[in-house]
């Protein structure tokens, strides 16, 4: 059984009424609900010591989900380094919505990951541009999200290894909403939907994408540590 770890900063669900109203137990509990029937799921938050992240925890994680927004800068660099290292050694990672600006995601991309944004609550259609991709299975032509924060291009990421979704917002913007990256021995998926004030993670299509993405990110191959070895001449 694939072992999933959900990291949610768990800040605004406690400080903003309109977030608490949507996710009374935190976004992580809603995500857990979406995943727990198929996967073994654990959750950690920024309330946990060191964000609940240690090398041992990650060594026992197949796929990490990351949701963060208000707490990006207070995540210790050491935590970002641990996540970065675990992905390069083979762990899968899914970065959600405002986690485009999370330290470990930026560290994996090598770019600024900046974008344009607007918080109007417009609807979004998340179009499938690659219907054969494992992450798009069962989705149909697009996901429909009733209310979402608008993200706009240019999204400063390296050319994705595979693109799965492009979002179109009521207000007219477009955004590469589902992007796959192969980094080191690990697989990374960025998925744009999930603003904290809208019930996006209750949406059944969104949940299906998350489950598909966990399966896609999973990789049985994992190396214990990254080295830059001195080698001897190959002999046969």
């Amino acid at each position: 059984m694939i072992r999933v770890l959900i990291f949610n900063e768990f800040i605004e669900e406690k400080t903003r009424e309109n977030v608490k109203a949507v996710y009374p137990n935190g976004i992580h509990e809603c995500l857990r609900e979406a995943l727990c029937e198929e996967f073994e799921v654990k959750t950690v938050t920024q309330d946990d010591e060191n964000c609940g992240i240690t090398k041992e925890v990650l060594d026992n994680t197949d796929v990490l989900l990351w949701w963060a927004h208000a707490g990006h800068t207070t995540v210790p660099d050491e935590v970002a380094d641990l996540v970065h290292d675990a992905v390069l050694r083979g762990m899968g990672a899914i970065f959600l919505h405002s986690s485009h600006y999370a330290k470990p995601f930026k560290k994996l991309m090598g770019t600024s990951c900046s974008l344009h944004w607007r918080e109007d609550g417009d609807f979004e259609r998340v179009w499938v541009i690659n219907p054969a991709h494992p992450i798009a299975q069962g989705i149909g032509e697009y996901l429909y999200i009733e209310h979402e924060e608008t993200y706009g291009e240019p999204f400063d990421i390296p050319q994705p290894d595979q693109e799965v979704f492009i979002g179109a917002y009521e207000g007219g913007e477009v955004f590469r909403s589902g992007c796959c990256f192969l980094r080191g021995n690990g697989k990374v998926f960025y998925f744009q939907p999930g603003h904290e004030t809208f019930p996006v993670y209750y949406n059944e299509q969104v949940r299906k994408v998350l489950r598909n993405a966990v399966r896609w990110c999973y990789n049985s191959y994992r190396i214990p540590e990254i080295t830059c070895p001195h080698v001897t001449k190959p002999q046969d």
Copy 2:
């Protein structure tokens, strides 16, 4: 001076009143107008023998533009083969709008190049997703096109080597509207705007994109023929 050849099938401008009204002298003449101040421009149409395309003509062409729609199937395979071969040997090529289904474009892509479409005359915003790209210079955030045929994803192309534009249509669809492909020794640009019943190629932003694209597609490197040579062991 970069030598440009414009191929336009030149069919519907003679057979459909609403096309003739927009392009009385043919789309090729409008494209010529957009390019002739900066480049040396010639035009050919399907009225010319063998579409006006010979190996010699292409050997004297730096960048070919291709507009076609109603005449795809009546372009001889030999013409498509000549264009394909010239691109692989180093010629640049720009395929416009419905030329996604032109024989030489399909031959270069290796995929079906199919898409979704709807002819409502909705407006389109063609968003720049890569502002540093040479083809996007001087465009700003997006091109605005008052009326355009709607093209929708999935667009069955290989992952582009570089993506420059994503279009968003009034009706809600999205489309990878500006895509760069490196094939053999040549550079290929697909640009979606340009439905025959709307005056898209009079749009100054569109014309700037076309000029940028000609410069980007230009490559001074050209090989005389493609071979698969038997070689001897390297010696130094």
Copy 3:
């Protein structure tokens, strides 16, 4: 169980003594041996009517392997078209060695697929450059092939979606020996080893790569036909 179809032209095993000596029953029988414990395997050759390839046959194939050399030009275009269409609809395809010049491979790539070559029987080390890739599992640092025809760069293919192997030959050449391409709804793998006069497909490492590649190419998603549909405005 994944359904594998092996196409081998089966020409030189009957006409050249040094090929017959290595593959007395044909390359296809040797490939079958490598795959039949794990997959359901059928074989066809150019002796079969229409190369044994029909739409129905391909609709019942998950992954096609293709070995060809002397018979490229005598494979009917219709057969190449059927294979091309099946891949774009979701079938996996593995092209082996001299099949870089097979009609369906060239049609999928859109490039000339030309390369440099030399037939010295030098050894080759096929280095794993992407150790986490499913096709490289269990291989170690490289495959060692005692005698192989030398293939050299430039290999005129589009930038692969993923690169798994780079070969280094005794004589000094290098070659992108294991390349993955996503085309339409299908997955394509090109694997360079397998010259007909050397017992390459008896090599256990090579056989492991082939089995890995079959699993990687498999895709449960398949569409019945390729269309370019007229659509109506999205409604929710």
Copy 4:
């Protein structure tokens, strides 16, 4: 005239006799010699305050070359951040040889950039795999380097946007020796040759590659700072 800045750590040329013997005035002076006829060249070293790197210096640099080895860890993080930021805003950057492990390169890649290595002084052939690429112009089939440190795969980098060279070493290893990356608004080229104990940067072919690479990396587009702007709904 393209403004080039050469950063060389300038450590081993002062501390190791066998390096001093090859580059008595430092690697930067040899690189300057290779570039100064065509470009406006400045040099800085780790002896300069803050490595000679400030935002103002980089704002007046079109393309930065970076050579480093023994001093990676003593380059301040702030310097790496400045370089990283300048590339994302549009500066070109060329990382040479052991700079695969330089802080700004690793930060741009997002991966470990680890590799295999062996210091035997074997010869290397650096094969051109993309003869139409601007960086390969005038090189022929390969660069021949009489003595070089051996670098081996797997080289932990993201899939390059374009690959230009693959190196083959006397001892049998292969390495992606010339790789292009588009990051943010900037262009990055990694070039493997240039071990400090061998006179690689006196090689005329290597010098031609460096000049080609400077021209390729140059981009007239530059943004003053990276932002993640709140935007208003597009209006036309």
